[in-house]
């Protein structure tokens, strides 16, 4: 499994933990699936929890000013962001 595949699997698992959508709905997410602004469960507190868990599980640090609609708008945006941050580490 490549690093990206593993990141994808781990991110889906984390989203399931935070959103409680069930494994099937999370597995069905595509790069275009909307996150922040599209899912009512994802309020600012839930996003804060999600980001903190992302930092823990992917061993990256996310600055406040990196967090915006470009990073969290869709599943693909978030996966790309994490993959890039892990590449920098």
């Amino acid at each position: 499994m490549t690093l990206t595949d593993q990141t994808d699997t781990d991110l889906r698992s984390l989203l399931n933990d935070v959103l409680g959508l069930g494994a099937a709905r999370v597995a069905a997410m595509t790069a275009d699936s909307g996150l922040f602004g599209a899912l009512p469960e994802l309020d600012s507190m839930a996003v804060a929890g999600l980001l903190t868990e992302i930092e823990d599980r992917f061993d990256i640090v996310i600055d406040d000013d990196e967090v915006d609609g470009d990073m969290l708008g869709t599943y693909g945006d978030l996966l790309t962001f994490i993959t890039r941050k892990r590449g920098e580490a």
């Binding site: 935070v18 959103l19 469960e41 996003v47 804060a48 903190t52 868990e53 406040d64």
Partner: protein, 223 residues
Amino acid sequence: MPATWPCPGPSGIADEYAVVFDRARPVRLLIVPPLFEEMNRTRRMLIETQCRLDGLGIDSMLPDLPGCNESAQAFPAQSLGSWRDAMAAAARHFAATHVLALRGGALVFPTSLPGWVLEPQKGSAILRQLLRARVLAAKEAGREENSTDLLEQGRNHGLELAGYRLSAALVAGLDAAVPQDEGQRVIRQSDLGGRPLWLRSEPGEDPAQSAALARLIAAEASA
């Protein structure tokens, strides 16, 4: 069953609530809940755990932290110190023999009791998440705030975070606090199976996880 217990506070003794399964059995477990939103997210899991413990012959008490849940005390008057005093008072009142602290509860539980801490969390991690939620909410509203300035403001004057008015003492306390466990056994999520319910944006439940937690406590309490 709901019960009340006398809790020391800034205006004297206040009655606080606890969910209690008490049949005067030898093992009496005080449960110290997580802090802030995680307390709400884990409440169903904890009360289900209490039901399971009852079936396994163990008494348990889940008290409110002053200022939280049903408490009539003011949240802005609270600090880690007031919560520690309160949990120590609850332990005495209910004659607890053991303690289970979850997550941020590990910052305020009575350390003299034997027992367990479940996925303990550093105070700074809790604070960071609350600050981040505020920065995000401000950003959505078109305002720029940053965590460093907010933390400084909070340590000096207190701060409203995620709907809670935190005293300066609570901010400073959280910033410095680490889990207090001294010989209590650390339980990890992987020991219970299932997914961590305190992460769930909407409170959930998982009876299998509650049953696993109750079995683990019952086995180790009588060992």
